[in-house]
Amino acid sequence: MATLIIVVAIIAIAVIFAVVWFSIYNNLVEYKNELNSSESQIGVQLERRADLIPNLVNTVKGYAAHEKSTFEEITKFRSLVADKKAPLEDRLLANDEMSKRLASVNVSVEAYPDLKASQNFLNLQEELTNTENKIAYARQNYNKIAKIYNTKIQTFPNSIVAGSKFIKADFLEVPASKAEVPNVKFD
């Protein structure tokens, strides 16, 4: 009789332990998925931005022939931004560099009123600004979720369940200030 009680007790404890363990595990998986989806949101915006560039280059090329080397650089960075296999950090870095070049191109085409009046060009400008902002906000969102996720996997008892399966997420570096992000706009 006594042995039966002990066996039942051990089984009960094991079951409780397993339930707690798996519920924590599942919870962590949820956070991990959330983190992954916020990461892929950045990727989506980077792609959208990369898709805009050839169109923009074609539109302004004729007006800024002297910026030939800048265009080449932009194209080079663009291919890195569009590269889905490259690490996200590198793609973001390439995007920042590309934005700087775009800003300088914009300064040099500023003198052309017919270009500035073209609806096609204005739409492109807005789309560029939009994707730039969306990338910045998606980055901010990722960092916010990464912080929650990191706290989650580092605190007890989650830390035991997390073990080596859940790795601490790195923050994505946000440009020093939003003002530093080149403002691709005319007014």
């Binding site: 807005e126 600004t129 901010q140 939003k178």
Partner: protein, 368 residues
Amino acid sequence: MSKPLFLLIKKNKRKTNFLIFWFIFLVTALGALIGFVIKLFTEGSWWDMATAAFLAMGISLIYAFVQFFYSRSLFFKPDSSVLVTEKSDPVLYHVVEDMAFVAGVPMPEIYIIDDSSLNAFATGRNPESAILGITKGLREKLNREELEGVVGHEVGHIKNYDIRLSSMAVALSVAFVGLGVFSFRLASVFFDSDSRRNSKDSYGAVFGLIFIAIGAIFLIIGVPLSKILTLALGREREFLADATSVELTGNPKGLSRALGKIELDENVSSVLAKSPAAALCIGEPKRKKSFFGSWRKLLFSSHPETESRVERLGVDYEEIKEEIYVKNEQNSPKPTNDVNVNSSDDVLSDFQRLLDDENNSSFDIFFD
């Protein structure tokens, strides 16, 4: 932020429920009173009184229900507001999209209000049904950064369910004042019928007087009620929404400049000032200067001073003002005469600040 978001949401929902309860209670009580008076004069039974009370309860229930689920009809008139789509105004649409994304709320519907003054407001019962209204003037005079600040502020109200409480508060106090006016109209109908029939034993004049009295009761309760509501809704909520906005955009200057522009702009509001939406706006809608206007400002002002709002964001208001003035001068070389500056206004605003400070804390007990 002093309180976690979920507590704020809970508090706002609770306050809204309180508000609806008191509204129905008051209207029912007044219905019973009308019934009682009718009983007195027609020598009817107590059933007359009960019927009147139940009728009043039913009407107030239906009104509260309709306003809860469809408050937009009160705030957005189809002839003065236009729906914004991504195609019709990509910049504004994208700004709202961004702010909703960072705040983690669904994309609200956006309407442009045909009003040349600078203002914005949000309404709805929850983030899923939220609607954002932005005046034409605001859309035209603010740049992208400033727009982000204003939209972030409104999204802040949406996120913590401020919109539910404030929309209901406005809808219910509008009903109260409306019922008062309706009673006066009813009274005049009775007086009319009395003079036409010209019979000695008709109750027309008596009923007329009764309805004037009832109308007066509605107005006597309703007008201070809306004052209390706007005060209870004011200040802290605005500061909090400002803080949320800066948290979302990471750019205190954008919102500060927007607030400065809203304050310094001289366009008088044509649509919003007359609309119930006035109580929901980010800045006090500007009305034509008049004696009555300044009293109204004293009585119904719900918003904290722009200066203290900007200073709370850690930005120097004087600097912002200078930036805006310099920009204005660049755009229009002829400096306009500053008709708006008058000293009595300063005295008023000081007095009002005093009032606000004293009332703000004590008015909360009306809800808790």
